[in-house]
Subunit: 416 residues, 2 copies
């Protein structure tokens, strides 16, 4: 089934509120097989709400709204939708008693304003909202078109969605064959979007009717494959097959699926090899260690890190020879190798990871422009060092540097 | 002037991506006095993009789109909009040369796919995008209707908006009386939302007609004051006045306005006192150093950090006496004081900052539950240590710990 979402609230258009409901609705509805074909955000104005809801009903016959159900003057959704579906608003005594009881529990008199929250379009199904005063509403018109009205407060919206809306949608969908929308993501790093597309383009047709999206970020390019409106087991089988097909051309750049975190992948590989890790960072300033320690239980494998920001710390703590620094500079293969070795020695571990570079905006030279980063991963007595030149601003160069450092360790461990 | 926004991307509807562009566009456009009357999100399908853009142009004559400008097969915006506005796509040799040069700088051949990014609707104004390969486009049709096409990558969108789109809009708007929506944010930390509201409640009426919003996050509570549709100089004057009124009750918890970053505030204070900083972190795993080094030019003040994750590093690198660790544990006042002193000594600096705690999910005890964090800031020979017990999950406890560490140093420096 297809449906549209209308999000109501001037605050959302002004950008003072981030619309987290939208993403949550998207995930939850896709999971039960409902396809959102459009989402509109409109201000708290009756004519704007009216036209957006009317158009959505025209196109799909099913609209879900969030927001505009509160007790104040800018809460208009219920009135507008009732008019549109030609239903009168009637006072529901049950609802009114519930709202009065709620205020009694809080030890406050019920403001007259809240009485309007007990009015519902005639014939509507009331979706109880134990988390707030505004109930959700499920309104169906004579032509079978449905408008579901939910409050905009994320906690209340989420509760009503899970408790009331999704079960009803699933029942509706069980009549026909239940079709779902399912995605799988292959995560890659160290390869540009267009280079990845050149590798994958020739086989892109083979995964049809599944669709493929390239999602680039400073961490790499995610490949998201989506199965649309297929029966559940078929969707799973096709996604598995598509994943296998895409993994081959992605090659060594693929490091995991779905929510895989490269730091967790590296930590797991270190554990499997019974390695312990020490880190030496310069331009990334602690970001590599921060990513490793974000993972619960990292302390069994990660011993420590030095952020050797000043060169004096590279020589004092990491024992990078002063002669190396003077001859080759802080951003060089020789220095990064000595840093990895120094981390290994300082933390008395068998795996050392090091990164040094120029994150900018200052400090670049024609030979070593901003974005130049040297990385080294050392396991036992073998060191692998690589140079990368990253695009972007300081933050992006640092993020790319941290990700590339983790990726280098992943590759070295895979070959060991 | 009124305009509509069309956000393009199946990912956004599926809820895999949070639409941060939407909020950013809302704030920026409101600030120059443009009113967003609707925002629509549509999937990467030509007919969906076409109808949303056509309807928006019909209603307001001005549409701004984000997304769908990349080099791959799911990037359709330019083609669809060109058809809709009856413009052919033509290859721009200048753009092509720029894209080729970009790949050359990165030392990689340009994939053939990227060539399509140099095609533009005939007569369109090209908005240069130094942050990526897809330029923005400003396309005007024979009837004076305008479509502005921006890439969806937030960093690129933001740059094009500020450098190219807002100046053009401001020129268009200079005709009528210009009313603006302006906000100012006061940033606080170390005080709960409800405690702050108790302090501020009594004077909240004094800032009318400006409105006040409390925005809590793991970093603290931001106070956002907004002036709605006032003439520009009046908005500025009222915001300045409201800021002054609110700063008094916020007291020592206030650390800066608008985009102020606590790490930058601390770095500035260190510079003013000609201090140099060394850091010792345990549970935050590099996050404090990462935040300091995110600031360009930090290297003049920040020397280095040790992430002493294993206790053996606390004794070996930071010289925390084994007896202290054994008697009081790694998460204790005695240990955190010794860590701050150790950082001062190891990095040969006059300012040492240390944090040690239990980020969870494991490791808590009845006496030291998950969330217990000890912090110490040492300047010259004076150390101040505090204990906090933070709510939230591992990530939130770490973020709160890093913020509290920076805040402790800010307060110690303010008193020095």
């Amino acid at each position: 089934m297809k449906l549209e979402i209308v999000t109501i609230g001037t605050e959302l258009l002004l950008g003072h509120t981030l619309d987290t409901n939208a993403a949550e609705l998207g995930r939850a509805l896709a999971a039960v097989g409902a396809e959102i074909t459009r989402r509109a955000t409109v201000p708290d104005r009756p004519e704007a709400i009216r036209s957006a809801v009317a158009e959505a009903l025209e196109r799909t016959g099913f609209v879900l709204t969030t927001g505009g159900l509160g007790p104040t003057g800018d809460d208009l959704t219920k009135t507008v939708v009732a008019q549109l579906l030609e239903r009168r608003l009637v006072l529901d005594p049950h609802l009114l008693a519930g709202i009065e009881a709620r205020f009694q529990r809080l030890g406050r008199p019920m403001p007259e304003l809240n009485r309007s929250q007990a009015e519902v379009p005639e014939g509507a199904t009331i979706l109880p909202n134990p988390r707030g005063t505004a109930p959700g509403l499920w309104v169906e018109d004579a032509r079978g078109r449905v408008a579901v009205l939910l409050p905009g407060v994320p906690r209340e919206m989420r509760g009503l969605l899970a408790d009331e809306v999704l079960p009803r949608l699933e029942r509706r969908l069980q009549g026909g064959t239940r079709r779902v929308v399912r995605s799988r993501t292959l995560r890659t790093t160290g390869i540009a979007e267009s280079a990845l597309a050149e590798r994958i383009g020739p086989i892109e047709g083979e995964i049809a009717p599944l669709t493929l999206a390239y999602l680039p970020s400073p961490d790499g390019v995610d490949l998201r494959v989506t199965a649309w409106r297929l029966e559940e087991t078929e969707a799973a089988a096709r996604l598995a097959e598509a994943g296998d097909r895409l993994r081959a051309p992605a090659g060594e750049h693929w490091y995991g699926d779905d929510g895989a975190d490269l730091a967790a992948v590296v930590l797991d590989a270190l554990r499997r090899g019974r390695h312990r890790l020490g880190i030496a960072e310069s331009c990334t300033g602690g970001m590599v260690a921060e990513r490793i320690t974000a993972i619960p239980g990292a302390s069994d494998t990660f011993i420590g890190a030095v952020v050797a920001y000043a060169d004096v710390i590279k020589t004092a703590a990491l024992k990078v020879p002063l002669a190396v620094l003077e001859a080759h500079g802080a951003v060089s293969e020789e220095t990064v190798r000595a840093m990895a070795e120094g981390a290994q020695r300082l933390f008395a571990v068998d795996a050392g990871l090091a990164v040094t570079g120029i994150a900018g905006p200052g400090g670049g030279t024609p030979e070593k422009p901003v974005g130049t980063v040297w990385l080294a991963a050392r396991v036992h007595t073998t060191t692998r060092a690589v140079k990368r030149v990253f695009p972007g601003d300081r933050d992006e160069i640092r993020r790319r540097g941290a990700q590339a450092a983790l990726d280098l360790m992943r590759r070295v461990l895979a070959e060991a």
